[in-house]
């Protein structure tokens, strides 16, 4: 972002990478795939790099409102400083926080999730699927993340991408509005689960595996981690992959 500023230019869109996308080895591959597609489509985009900080989502949901607002304040200062208008992010938690929770604190931007931008690019013909047959007829299932789905009612954009890839989509019983959580939200990602009879991610993964899918498609780096762990717990990691939609798309261009 600073480079654009130095050149007296403005990008079309800011790619908010998020903590997982920046630091988690698995999620970095999602960031890579997404930035690859943006570059291929000739989108002028920027990242904040070192100037980006946690949106404060896990702190807020754990109950630490003070820390959340502190992070929000800092991020809004940076974003407003660069006069950012439009943000895209590959993390539904960042998406929800930036879109719904920053306006009250003075941060007003048009915020979209990467699946929404990808759908737009596909509809505009900017994404050309040259290798679409790669996933044709492949049995996949799609996991709605809570923060893209129920929290923001985005159910169709990711499914339309899957339709474009011509996959054999096997929906789980609990999908869309009744989608089952992966177990990571509300700060759970950063602590041990409470005592119970099973783990949330293995419960959800079992449902995904029961569809007979070869690929479990996710839209959130935290879900991806949780579901991958779930697949490993059933020792299915060689047969079943957990991938973000953008990874499917990027390998089909």
């Amino acid at each position: 972002m600073a480079d654009y500023l130095a050149a007296g230019d403005q990008p079309d869109i800011l790619f908010w990478v998020g903590c997982a996308g920046s630091f988690d080895d698995r999620a970095k591959r999602i960031s890579k795939a997404f930035s690859d597609i943006l570059a291929k489509c000739g989108i002028k985009f920027a990242i904040l790099g070192q100037e980006e900080s946690c949106t404060g989502d896990p702190a807020r949901r754990a109950g630490n409102e003070f820390l959340f607002q502190m992070m929000a304040y800092q991020n809004i200062q940076v974003l407003n400083g660069y006069e950012v208008k439009k943000i895209v992010t590959a993390c539904p938690h960042c998406f929800n926080t930036l879109k719904n929770e920053y306006p009250e604190l003075g941060g007003n931007y048009e915020v979209i999730h990467h699946t929404q931008l990808l759908q737009e690019l596909l509809d505009q013909g900017k994404i050309k699927l040259s290798d679409a047959s790669k996933f044709k007829g492949k049995r996949v299932t799609y996991h709605d993340s809570c923060y893209l789905g129920r929290a923001n009612n985005v159910y169709e954009a990711p499914r339309s991408l899957l339709a474009a890839l011509d996959v054999d989509l096997a929906e789980m019983g609990r999908s869309k509005k009744t989608g089952m959580c992966c177990g990571a939200g509300g700060g759970q990602m950063f602590k041990e689960e409470e005592n119970g009879k099973e783990r949330i991610n293995t419960n959800r993964t079992k449902e995904a595996l029961d569809t007979g899918a070869e690929i479990i498609v996710a839209n959130c780096p935290f879900c991806t981690t949780m579901l991958e762990d779930g697949v490993k717990s059933y020792e299915k990691q060689t047969e079943v992959k957990v991938l973000d939609i953008v990874e499917l798309l990027n390998s089909s261009i």
Partner: protein, 434 residues
């Protein structure tokens, strides 16, 4: 004589129910002010769709249909109740019926027959509800939090409904039998004229008495219902309406923000803020029901303990302690307790050493929540258990510093490195070249 007895009962019920309903209003007012930014037209639309139209019930169609039978029967029977009340005050018999009989008898018969058919459907639904709760033992209706009073409450209401319907049919059938025996003309009751065949051997006096008995049974059932409602989960039949009206218009993912903290942050960052009262000690999050909003408290009274929230909760489904329904039941129980204590202390609050947090809702329950909004999505009357959970979590973290060790680490990392993990902020863009 009947008129006097009826009037005494009627005004007695008004007096005692006013006291109790007023107490509920008082209890809800113990919460913090709540304002809903939704325009009135949207609020009315929500009320029409969600409360009147029961839109969200239909995500589970079978129970929705049977619930709908009871609901519609209940609404239409109020028309008959109007006549019962008029008859009670004037000592007349089927006042509206007679008025219409000379004028347009079809209207009255149609109405009564509609009520009869709906009552039968409601009766069937009631038996199904009783059996799925007590015989089939549907999991969501047989959880630990329902043991004791909540289970009894549910059954009392269902049995009460059977008595109400029984009263109506007894009244109409006995009268029908009397009409058949005396070759009289009058009303034709579509179902009761069939039931009447059971009574045709009875004497005219006995039939009149039976009809009177049915009338009293229904009436006493209704009066009992009005008095019982405020003690019961069944209060939802009234409070579903204001609750749906006050549906939160924001995206479900948006958590309520705390302006008092925003002021602290701004002043910390050297921005000018409105001077706040230096003597006011800010309290962060909710510890007891008085810290919650009036909407949260209304939610608790509007809850009918159906348990859809809990059956959809990922924590509960995997055996954790958290049950969103219990959050609502605890909030109501605590509110009732506070209300009772205040009632004996001239509406002044004397600390009883208890609070919603800890005494009712445990830390372990709160820690189980993934904020996934499944409970909020499920609730047929748009209650948000999540809103209460987050406010209690805030109190744990910001007032008690009661946080799991890993969360303290996460907070520290966010504060110092701008990420929940221990990575240097300077390395944030390294993924680009990795």
């Amino acid at each position: 004589m009947t008129i006097i007895l009826f009037s005494l009962l009627f005004f007695g019920v008004i007096f005692f129910s006013y006291k109790k309903y007023h107490r509920i209003y008082f209890n809800i007012k113990l919460g913090k002010d709540y304002s809903n930014p939704n325009p009135t037209s949207e609020k009315l639309k929500n009320m029409a769709l969600i409360a009147l139209g029961q839109k969200k019930m239909f995500s589970r169609p079978i129970s929705a249909i049977f619930h709908f039978f009871i609901y519609v029967a209940f609404v239409f029977t109020q028309l008959e109740l109007l006549e019962i009340l008029l008859d009670g005050f004037t000592g007349s018999h089927r006042m509206i019926g007679h008025a219409l009989l000379d004028y347009c008898p079809a209207i009255y018969s149609t109405l009564i027959n509609l009520i009869e058919i709906l009552s039968l459907l409601a009766l069937i639904a009631t038996f199904i509800f009783l059996s799925r709760r007590n015989l089939l033992k549907l999991p969501r209706l047989n959880m630990d939090e329902l043991k004791g009073w909540p289970m009894k409450d549910a059954n009392i209401i269902l049995i009460g409904e059977i008595l109400l319907v029984f009263g109506i049919f007894l009244m109409n059938s006995a009268e029908s039998a009397w009409l058949i025996n005396s070759n009289g003309t009058g009303y034709h009751f579509i179902l009761s004229s069939v039931f009447a065949l059971l009574f045709t051997s009875f004497s005219a006096d006995a039939l009149q008495m039976l009809s009177q008995l049915g009338w009293w049974l229904h009436l006493i059932g209704i009066f009992g219902f009005i008095l019982y409602l405020p003690y019961s989960k069944h209060l939802h039949i009234l409070l579903a309406f204001p609750n749906a009206y006050l549906t939160n218009p924001n995206a479900k993912g948006q958590i309520n923000y705390m302006p008092e903290i925003y002021n602290e942050i701004k002043s910390m960052m050297g921005e000018a803020v409105e001077a706040s009262d230096p003597n006011a000690i800010p309290k962060f999050g909710a510890r007891d029901i008085t810290d919650l909003s009036q909407k949260n408290l209304l939610d608790a009274y509007a809850c009918t303990e159906c348990g859809r929230c809990t059956s959809a909760c990922p924590a509960n489904q995997t055996g954790k302690k958290l049950s969103p329904r219990k959050i609502m039941m605890d909030t109501r129980d605590r509110m009732e307790e506070v209300g009772r204590l205040m009632e004996v202390n001239n509406n002044e609050w004397k600390d009883d050493g208890k609070s919603l947090l800890h005494n009712y809702i445990s830390v372990e329950e709160l820690r189980g929540c993934t904020t996934c909004n499944a409970c909020v999505e499920e609730c047929p009357v748009n209650i948000s258990p999540l809103d209460i959970i987050v406010q209690l979590r805030r109190n744990l973290i910001m007032e008690e510093s009661n946080s799991p060790q890993e969360w303290n680490g996460m907070f520290g990392n966010i504060e110092n490195n701008g990420a929940p993990w221990k990575f240097a902020q300077s390395e944030r863009a390294n993924w680009v070249n990795s």
